[in-house]
C-alpha cells in the first residue's frame, strides 16, 4: 500500500523557493501544451509563438511593456492587500471606477484646463475613484463581517454595469454615431506616448515608482509592519494594539487607488475615450492577482511577473491571429499557471514523503 505523509517544512531556502516556482511554471506550461494539443495545434509551436510574439520582436516587446503597466500598478497594490490577508478580488472594478472618475474630469473640465493641470488632476481623480471602490468592501468586512472575496467580486459587476449605463446613457458622445461610448477626450487630457510605441510614459514611470515605494512601505515602515502582523495573526494585532480598521482602510485605499491609476492610463493613454468595460480593461484586475502571487507578494518582483504576464497576453493575441485559436485561450493559459503556482506553494511549505508499505 502506498502511503503519503505530509509534514511542515521548516527550512525554506531561497534556492528551493526559486526551483519550486520554476517547476510549477514548467508543469503549468506542460498542461497548457496539452490544451493546445487538444485544440489540434502543435504545443511547442504555439508556445514558441506566444513568447516570440511578445518578446521576440521590438514591436512585440513594446506592446508587452504597454500591457505590463496596469499589471504592475495593480499587482503591486495587491501584494500589500494580500500580505494583510485582505483578499481583494475587486481590482477590475477599482480600475473601472478610476477610469470613470478620470473620464469625468477630462470630459467636463478638460476644455478649460491646460495639460499640466489636467493630467495630475486626472490621476488624482482616478486614484480617488479606485480608492473609494476599495474602501467599501473594507468597511463591509470590518463593521459587518462580510467576506471580502464575495463583496469585492460582486462590486466588479456593479461597477461594470454602472460604466455601461453611463456610456449608453448620459455620457454617450455626440460624435459616436449612436454607438455607446463617450466623446474623445480633449487634447489636454491625453497622456504622452514614448514615440513609436503605445507606452504612455507618465503611467510607465508611475508603475515602476509604485513598485519601489510599496516595497519600502511593506518592509521598512510601521504601517507595513502592522499590515503584515494583522495578516499573519489578527489576534496578535489586537494584543499589540494595532488599529485594525485604520490599517485595513489605508491598505485598501492604496490597493484600490493604484488600480484606479491603471484605469486612468488605459482611458487617457490608449483609448482616449470611455468605452465598454471589456474594451477599457482586458481583465487586468484579475490577471494582476496572478502577477502578485507569482511575485511572492513582493512588490518589486511584480516588475518581472507583470512583464511576464503581459507577454502572455500579447502572445495570446499573436496565437489568435496566426493560429486562429479562440481569444479565450489566453484566459485558460492564465488560469492554469495560477493554479500550478498555488499548488507549487503547497509543495514548498509541506514536505511530502511517499512510503510503500507491505500490507
Amino acid at each position: 500500500m502506498i502511503q503519503f505523509s505530509v509534514t511542515d517544512r521548516y527550512d525554506i531556502s531561497a534556492g528551493r523557493s526559486f526551483m519550486t516556482n520554476l517547476l510549477s511554471l514548467v508543469a503549468g506550461l506542460f498542461m497548457i501544451g496539452l490544451v493546445f494539443l487538444f485544440l489540434g495545434v502543435n504545443p511547442f509551436y504555439a508556445l514558441f509563438k506566444i513568447f516570440s510574439g511578445s518578446f521576440g520582436s521590438f514591436y512585440g516587446f513594446k506592446e508587452t511593456l504597454t500591457k505590463a503597466i496596469p499589471l504592475i500598478l495593480i499587482g503591486s497594490g495587491l501584494t500589500l492587500a494580500f500580505r494583510a490577508k485582505f483578499w481583494n478580488i475587486g481590482a477590475e472594478g477599482q480600475l473601472l471606477m478610476g477610469a470613470i472618475f478620470a473620464s469625468w474630469t477630462s470630459l467636463f473640465l478638460g476644455d478649460h484646463l491646460p495639460s499640466y493641470i489636467m493630467v495630475p488632476l486626472m490621476f488624482l481623480a482616478g486614484f480617488t475613484g479606485g480608492a473609494l471602490w476599495g474602501i467599501i468592501p473594507a468597511i463591509l468586512k470590518i463593521r459587518f463581517s462580510i467576506n471580502e472575496v464575495i463583496s469585492t467580486l460582486m462590486l466588479n459587476y456593479i461597477c461594470a454595469d454602472f460604466l455601461t449605463m453611463l456610456i449608453v446613457g448620459p455620457w454617450k458622445g455626440s460624435t459616436r454615431f449612436g454607438f455607446p461610448g463617450t466623446d474623445n477626450f480633449p487634447d489636454s487630457a491625453i497622456l504622452g506616448l514614448i514615440p513609436g510605441s503605445r507606452i504612455h510614459y507618465a503611467t510607465f514611470i508611475l508603475s515602476i515608482l509604485c513598485a519601489v515605494i510599496l516595497c519600502i512601505v511593506i518592509y521598512k515602515t510601521r504601517f507595513g509592519y502592522e499590515a503584515r502582523v494583522v495578516g499573519e495573526n489578527p489576534d496578535a494585532g489586537r494584543y499589540a494594539g494595532i488599529d485594525f480598521l485604520k490599517t485595513t482602510l489605508i491598505l485598501m485605499i492604496i490597493s484600490g487607488g493604484l488600480a484606479g491609476l491603471a484605469g486612468v492610463g488605459e482611458v487617457a493613454g490608449i483609448h482616449h475615450y470611455l468605452g465598454y468595460p471589456a474594451a477599457v480593461s482586458s481583465g487586468y484586475g484579475f490577471t494582476a492577482i496572478i502577477v502578485a502571487w507569482l511575485a511572492k507578494l513582493n512588490p518589486l518582483l511584480t516588475l518581472v511577473s507583470g512583464i511576464f504576464f503581459a507577454g502572455i497576453l500579447v502572445g495570446g493575441d499573436a496565437v489568435q491571429i496566426s493560429l486562429g485559436l479562440p481569444a479565450a485561450t489566453v484566459g485558460i493559459v492564465n488560469g492554469i499557471l495560477l493554479i500550478c503556482l498555488i499548488m507549487g506553494d503547497y509543495f514548498l511549505k509541506n514536505k511530502i514523503t511517499l512510503t510503500i508499505a507491505k500490507p
Partner: protein
Amino acid sequence: MRGISKSFHGIPANQDISFSIESGEILGLLGENGAGKTTLMNILYGLYQPDAGEIRINDAPVRIHNPLESIALGIGMVHQHFMLIQNHSVLENIALSHKDTPFFFPTVKIREKLENFSASFDFNIDLTKKIWQLSAGEQQRVEIIKALLNGADLLILDEPTSVLTPQEIKELISILKEMKAKGHMVIFISHKLDEIMDICDRVLVLQKGKIAGSALTRDTDKISLARMMVGRDVVFNIQREKIDRGNQILSVEHLNVMGDKGLPVLKDISFEVFENEIFGVAGVSGNGQRELAEAVTGIRKAESGKIRINDRDITNTSPRHIYDQGVSHVPEERIRFGIAPGLFLYDNAILKQHHLKKFSKRYFLKYKDVKDHAKNLMDDFNVSAHSIHSQIRNLSGGNIQKLILGREISEKPQLLVASHPTYGLDVGATEFMRNHLLELRKTGSAVLLFSEDLEEIFELCDRIAVIFDGEFMAILDSGDRRLNDIGLMMAGSKRI
C-alpha cells in the same frame, strides 16, 4: 479499562490507569487541568489509541479505533465544546449524528423516534429551533439526546457544568439522576468538589496522569479529595529575600467581565498590586484567570468596575494606551496572541513595542535597532534559533515562550501581567524565568502572576489570591497557614 498508558511526544499523559464502572453508576473523574482526565476519556471514546492496556466491555476485550465504533458499543460523549451545527435545527442536528437516519427525508423518521423518547425523559426543547437560538444548557441537552438516541449505555460528560448557569446545573443533575435510575452509566469529569460529592457515587482522582486515589463519595469528604487532587500537603518554601512593598501600582475595584459566551465570568473582583510585589492568582484554569488578564491589559471589555494604574483610570482604554502606562503582558494563549507566525524573529521581538521611539522614527521602523534588540533578547533569554532571520513558526514552543517573556520583561514594566509563564518549559528554563520574575520584583516592578502550578505560586508570590468561578475565595499572605486548604478553595468549597 485496565493498565491504560498514553504519552504524547514522550510526555506521559496517562500511566497505568485501571478502573471499572457498572450499570446505574455515576463515576466522578476529578483532577487538575493537565492531570489526564480528557486524554483518558478520549481513549475510551476512540479518539486516541492507548500505547498500552486494554478496554473491556461486559468482560469482553474490545479495540476502539474511532468514535463510530465506540458509539456502536454504546458509549457516548458530550465534549466541553459542543459539536453542533449552529445554523441547523435541533432535529437536523440529531438526525445528522444518528446511525439509522435514512438518506431521504432524514428528519421525518427521527422526529417520531424522538417524540417517543422525550416522553421517557424530561427534555423539553423545541425541535424546530436553530442551535444558535438555544442557551448553553439546552445545547448540552441536545448533545445528551444525541448520545442517548444512539443507544449510549455509558455517557461521558467532559466538564459539563463549566458553561451552565446554576439553574441549568440543577436541571442537568436531575437528568443524570433519571438516567441513573434507568440503568445508564455516567462518567462525570470535573474539578469542582461540590458537584462531584453531590452527583457521583464513586470518584476517581487523577494526578499527573496517574490514579491518586479512588473512593465512594459516601465514605469520603471534600478535604481528603482536595488533598488527593493537589497531591500533597502544601509545603511552604520561603527563599525569597524579604522586600517591603512600595507604592500601589494596580488597583482593581468591583470588576465585572463577560466571557466569550456572554456569561459573566468575573464577579465583583477587587484587589491591589504594589511595587516590589508578586501577586499570585491560583486556581484551576477556566475560572476567570484569562479574562482577568485580558481585562487588565485592555484586550477584553469590562462591564463595570474600575481598573487603575498609578491612580490613573485605564478601564476600557486601548491596549496600546495601557501598554504605554507601563503594563506588559505575557498572554496565556501565546501562539494565538503573542506572535505573528510567518514573520521573522526580529519582527516578533518588537510586537507591541514597534511604535516606541527607540524602534521607530516617524513612519519608518529602525530595523537596525530592531535587529540589535532581537539579538540581545536571544542572548539574554537563551532563545535558541537559527538566526534572527528565522520565521518564528519554526521555533519550538519553549523558545517562542522565552522570546515573548524576554520581550515583555526587557521593557522594565511597572506591571507585568504573566499568565502561566513557565507552562511547558523544562526545569532549567523554568528556574531561569522564575529568577527573572524575582529580579523584576527586586527592581521595583509589580507582577500579577497567574499559575496553576502551586509550587510556582508558593515559591514566588508575596500574596496569593485563590480564584474559583470568577470570584476570589481568599487573598492571603504567602505565610498564612490557612493556605493549607488551598485545594478546597480552588474547588470552591471554602471561602475565607
